[in-house]
């Protein structure tokens, strides 16, 4: 087992340049045929933000948010990381059927490269947060250094789910539609336009514990505390997010490793 992990790690490391090329290929192809290019990745969260801010300040006012627009934006950006990466990763093995059938390389790098290239787009959205932080004159503190850590936890979760979905999609082609529905559910089950403390107050304890199994919950809350309230992440909810993300990542690698033996026969 340990031996296998070491071998896989070495194999992926040997193909790190291929991974970089796959990421760049994904980027080039995506933007070569678009006139607005990278602008789209900033436009989408801005539109979402506009709608949510209008609805929840005028029609249905919310309590508990500090710097409401930024608070919502942090939620949108975190959720978007999932919404950008998972559908793209799901198709990554099937869409590269000729490669999978004929070229020998660790297949893991297919979903991983897609997740990484999409998360670069996610990073530009994080840049949008920075702009808003400056506009609203949110005090910038040392705790901002925790942002990459929280983002890293989210990324572990996304890579894990990406590996799982791309492998399942080979044997079960309806995966794409399942992913679409699951993402809609995830949007409402994540504290995007509401906050985690409100969920904590309104849910019975067992339901709240269940709710925390979605790592977006702990991560979005942690981001808000760090960026807007100059506080450290809430230890219980953030640790659940870390553990769930890690378990998902490990499960993703394990399941992908098992199913990839059949990839060449099935794609």
């Amino acid at each position: 087992m340990i031996d296998n992990i070491g071998k896989l790690g070495a194999d992926i490391w040997m193909h790190r340049y291929a991974l970089r090329n796959l990421i760049m290929k994904d980027f080039r192809i995506r933007y070569r045929n678009m006139s607005l290019g990278v602008l789209w990745s900033v436009l989408n969260p801005l539109v979402m933000l506009g709608i949510l801010v209008v609805v929840f300040t005028y029609i249905y006012p919310q309590q508990g948010h500090v710097f409401f627009p930024i608070s919502v934006l942090l939620g949108i950006v975190s959720y978007n990381l999932l919404a950008l990466c998972i559908p793209a990763a799901t198709g990554s093995v099937v869409d590269n059927a000729p490669l999978v059938k004929k070229v020998i390389f660790p297949r893991h790098i297919l979903p991983i490269s897609v997740v990484l290239s999409q998360s670069i787009q996610g990073l530009t959205q994080l840049g949008l947060v920075a702009v808003f932080v400056l506009i609203f004159q949110v005090p910038i503190t040392v705790k901002f250094l925790l942002i990459p850590v929280i983002y890293g936890v989210l990324l572990m979760f996304v890579v894990g789910v990406g590996l799982l979905c791309s492998a399942f999609n080979v044997v079960f082609r309806d995966m794409r539609y399942l992913v679409e529905s699951a993402l809609t559910v995830m949007f409402w089950l994540s504290p995007v336009f509401y906050t985690l403390p409100i969920v904590h107050k309104s849910f019975p304890r067992w339901l709240f514990a269940l709710y925390l199994l979605n790592p977006l919950a702990g991560c979005i809350d942690a981001l808000r505390r760090v960026v807007l309230e100059n506080k450290l992440p809430d230890i219980p909810s953030f640790s659940v997010a870390v553990v769930v993300s890690l378990v998902t990542l490990i499960t993703g690698f394990a399941v992908f490793g098992r199913l990839q033996r059949q990839f060449a026969d099935l794609v």
């Binding site: 080039r28 059938k101 004929k102």
Partner: protein, 252 residues
């Protein structure tokens, strides 16, 4: 280690009682009723097709060998197993050394990327690092004779041009073992001669080479051993001329 192993060259490839079974379904993937059947514990009926059955042989490092047989005899499955893209249902496959597979030329190419970008993409998938591709880039382009088109997207290449580029990338990755599936159908006569010259060079360097080809004449120049496959079984394994004689007398 005993001294017995001292003289014989190390085996590059060993297949031990290998079987490969494909499940033939009407649809390639899991269907809803199949899922339901599995949940209820009802066994699912498949048509099984054994592409290979009980295949055992070993190939020494430096040997040049050909798989012959009709379409559907299992030759390409066998190459896939050795390359590691296909996993055996039964038995074991052991391979030592870096494999440069020419299972299908240019299979990693993307139509939207230029020739240059595709060279880097393809070579890196075959396991090369950036500086290694940089060092080989000029030779790859020169061999493919595509200098003028190297910054043109692949979609504008003819199929022959794309295959030439694929062949050129694959032979420059410096493999220990070369697997070639009908690659001599590439390009015009002149380019074929060039490929054959390169194959002879590899042979002189002591690389292990496995060919699948229907052009029996081509094989005569490069292989000393052949394995004849029929319906997934090995019918003959021995010196090329003997096996080819058996194969052609059977065919007529």
């Amino acid at each position: 280690m005993t001294s017995v192993t001292g003289n014989a060259p190390p085996a590059a490839i060993v297949l031990d009682q290998v079987g490969k079974c494909y499940r033939l379904r009407k649809h390639k993937t899991f269907l809803m009723h199949e899922l339901l059947a599995r949940v209820r514990g009802i066994p699912i009926a498949h048509d099984e097709f054994w592409a290979l059955r009980d295949v055992s042989f070993s190939i020494a490092a430096g040997e040049s060998l050909a798989f012959v047989g009709k379409n559907g005899a299992g030759k390409s499955t066998l190459l896939g197993l050795i390359a590691g893209t296909v996993y055996p249902t039964l038995g074991t496959v052991r391979v030592s050394g870096r494999i440069g597979a020419l299972l299908e030329l240019g299979s990693g190419f993307h139509p939207d990327l230029t020739g240059r970008e595709n060279i880097y993409m393809n070579a890196s998938l075959l396991g090369l690092r950036k500086n290694e591709v940089d060092a080989r880039f000029d030779r790859i382009v020169e061999f493919s004779e595509l200098q003028e088109f190297i910054d043109v997207p692949l979609r504008n290449y003819s199929s022959g041009m794309a295959m030439r580029l694929g062949f050129s990338v694959a032979i420059h990755t410096d493999p220990d073992i070369m697997l070639m599936d009908e690659v001599f159908a590439v390009g015009d006569q002149e380019f074929q001669q060039k490929c054959l010259a390169r194959v002879a060079e590899f042979k002189a360097q002591g690389k292990t080479m496995i060919f699948v080809s229907h052009g029996l004449e081509v094989l005569r120049g490069v292989c000393e051993r052949a394995i004849w496959l029929e319906h997934g079984k090995v019918l003959a394994d021995g010196p090329l001329e003997d096996v080819l004689a058996q194969y052609s007398s059977h065919a007529h």
